[in-house]
């Protein structure tokens, strides 16, 4: 995967999401967890929709999940991704019960199916930014 770093779309973290991005730099996928009722939520935001508490803790996710849906892009809509086509983007259902959207690497398009077991890996884009992506769980198990 050769994504151009100069022109890529960089996330703009804020006070709510900074711990998430900081954890990624340490190769951890941390999820916001309500300090009052324990509900896990993603993407990061200030209020727990279950109990309306603003008290937050962070828990490190297993990084394990399954493919819930996906798309395979054959057109790059930003110059940073023109050398990444076809680009496989998966909606992943994490074992913690929340979902995330990210790139799936190391799989051919015709291998993708709902329920495919994946795990989160980490790409150090720069000293200041690590992005999560997905690969087949345990690096194999293709059927």
């Amino acid at each position: 995967m050769t994504v151009s770093t100069e022109s890529r779309l960089l996330p703009e973290p804020n006070e709510d999401s900074q711990p998430y991005w900081d954890a990624l730099k340490s190769h951890r996928l941390d999820l916001q967890t309500c300090a009052d009722c324990g509900t896990v939520r993603h993407y990061p935001r200030p209020v727990c929709a279950a109990c309306h508490s603003m008290a937050v803790t962070w828990t490190t996710a297993s990084g394990h999940g399954t493919v819930h849906s996906w798309t395979i892009s054959h057109q790059a809509f930003h110059p940073a991704f023109k050398d990444c086509l076809p680009l496989i983007l998966v909606t992943v259902e994490l074992d913690e019960g929340v979902r995330m959207n990210c790139r799936l690497d190391g799989v051919s398009p015709d291998e993708i199916e709902t329920g495919l077991a994946v795990e989160v890996a980490f790409e150090d884009v720069s000293e200041d930014l690590t992005l999560p992506y997905c690969k087949l769980r345990d690096g194999g198990d293709r059927t």
Binding site: R8, L9, H74, F77, C84, T91, M100, P109
Partner: protein, 397 residues
């Protein structure tokens, strides 16, 4: 008046407050092109002047305006250009492609409350010759979450964000790309009949199947156009409308609806249900009609799949049955649900659905010419925007 009705298996609090209180009294459009040579503000003014003239009003009669939420023209531009002495009402309905139809609810509420008499809904842009959709959306506030957490991985354009919804529908219900093609082919036929359309060449299901894959499962012919042009409507109180130039088109019901997890499709419990599923029962309840009463439907069609999903969310069929519903020309002028009779965003022009409102009024006036659905008395128009926001208006002649 508030009462309770049972619809789609649920009991709904029925709000009659806006029923038949307002009418669409004027409609206007510019030519639809890929190179307007005009400013976006000029396109909006041109369409607005056409709509106001159609209503038999002077531009100075407009006392409310709901500018398109991400458009270049603001309320002040209309005051300045039209010489309006006392603009009394301006809001925006920032719901992306659901904005134009959501604005109908807002306009009707303002008129029914006595705040304004004639509310203008303008839209216009250089969507082809100016900035393209993928470049525009990252700046929308409604895209902030996906801009931070999804766009850095390459999910930049709406087609990439929406394709997983279509894929999920195919996985759960066996929906096929050929069923998406049915929508594209029928809509193209309508665009050609209409005349003021960007796309002028017929397509077949095979053409659709051979069109290049953009973001699987969505092909080029599943995607709407990017267009230059303008469209506008005027909404007025029903009592005034009866003495105005055109046959009044009554707004029987209107509603907006926001899906679960409206900031990120990824987190939505059911990827195949949109905000429209919440809005539609309220609008039908207000209008006191049901899906079987609808003679013509103008359904927001940023993508073919979006039409299929909304047909289900509107209650024309059960969830999962949309694929079968659209087969065999069902959406054609002589089909069971004549849909997007002007060619829609897929083949006429992408005016964020303002052209859908214009077309519904034309149909119900009986002035749709070669695309006229015979004896169309009751119809609906929907909007879809951002991460699945929905809006609907049900109208009658």
């Amino acid at each position: 008046m508030v009462s309770r009705i049972k619809l789609f298996g649920y009991h709904w609090r029925r709000m009659d407050t806006l029923k038949d209180k307002c009418c669409v009294t004027g409609i206007g459009e510019t030519a639809y092109t890929r190179s307007s040579g005009k400013s976006p503000t000029a396109l909006q003014m041109e369409a607005s002047l056409a709509a106001i003239a159609d209503a038999g009003l002077s531009p100075r009669d407009i006392d409310g305006v709901i500018p398109f939420s991400t458009g270049s023209a603001v309320a002040e531009d209309f005051v300045t250009n039209f010489g309006i002495e006392d603009l009394r009402y301006s809001v925006t309905a920032p719901m992306g492609g659901a904005s134009c139809v959501a604005a109908i609810q807002s306009a009707a509420a303002a008129i029914a409350a006595g705040i304004a008499n004639h509310v203008l809904l303008p839209m216009g842009r250089n969507g082809y010759s100016g900035p393209r959709a993928a470049a525009r959306v990252a700046a929308f506030p409604q895209f902030r979450i996906v801009a931070e957490f999804e766009m850095p991985y390459g999910a930049v354009a709406p087609v990439q964000l929406y394709a997983p919804m279509a894929r999920r529908h195919m996985t759960l219900y066996g929906t096929t790309s050929r069923q998406f093609a049915e929508i594209a082919v029928t809509t193209r036929r309508h665009a050609i009949l209409h005349g003021n359309s960007i796309m002028t060449k017929p397509i077949s299901i095979e053409d659709h199947q051979e069109s290049r894959m953009i973001s699987d499962p969505l092909r080029l012919f599943d995607c709407s156009l990017e267009s230059d042009g303008g469209a506008a409507v005027v909404i007025s109180g029903a009592e005034r409308a009866r003495d105005m130039r055109q046959r009044p088109i009554y707004i029987m019901g209107a509603a907006e609806g926001h899906p679960d997890s409206p900031s990120a499709i990824t987190q939505r419990p059911d990827l195949t249900t949109l905000g429209l599923a919440k809005a539609a029962p309220r609008a039908f309840g207000m209008a006191d009609v049901g899906p079987s009463d609808i003679d013509v439907a103008e359904i927001y069609d940023c993508f073919t799949y979006t039409v299929l999903c909304q047909i289900e969310d509107l209650g024309f069929c059960a969830k999962g049955e949309g694929g079968a519903f659209v087969e065999d020309g069902a959406l054609g002028l002589d089909g069971r649900l004549p849909t997007n009779t002007h060619g829609g965003l897929l083949s006429q022009s992408h005016m964020a659905g303002m052209n859908h409102i214009v077309e519904l009024a034309r149909q119900l006036r009986g002035g749709a010419g070669s695309t006229q659905v015979p004896d169309a008395e009751v119809g609906l128009v929907t909007g879809y925007g951002d991460m699945g926001d929905g809006s609907i208006a049900i109208m009658r002649r």
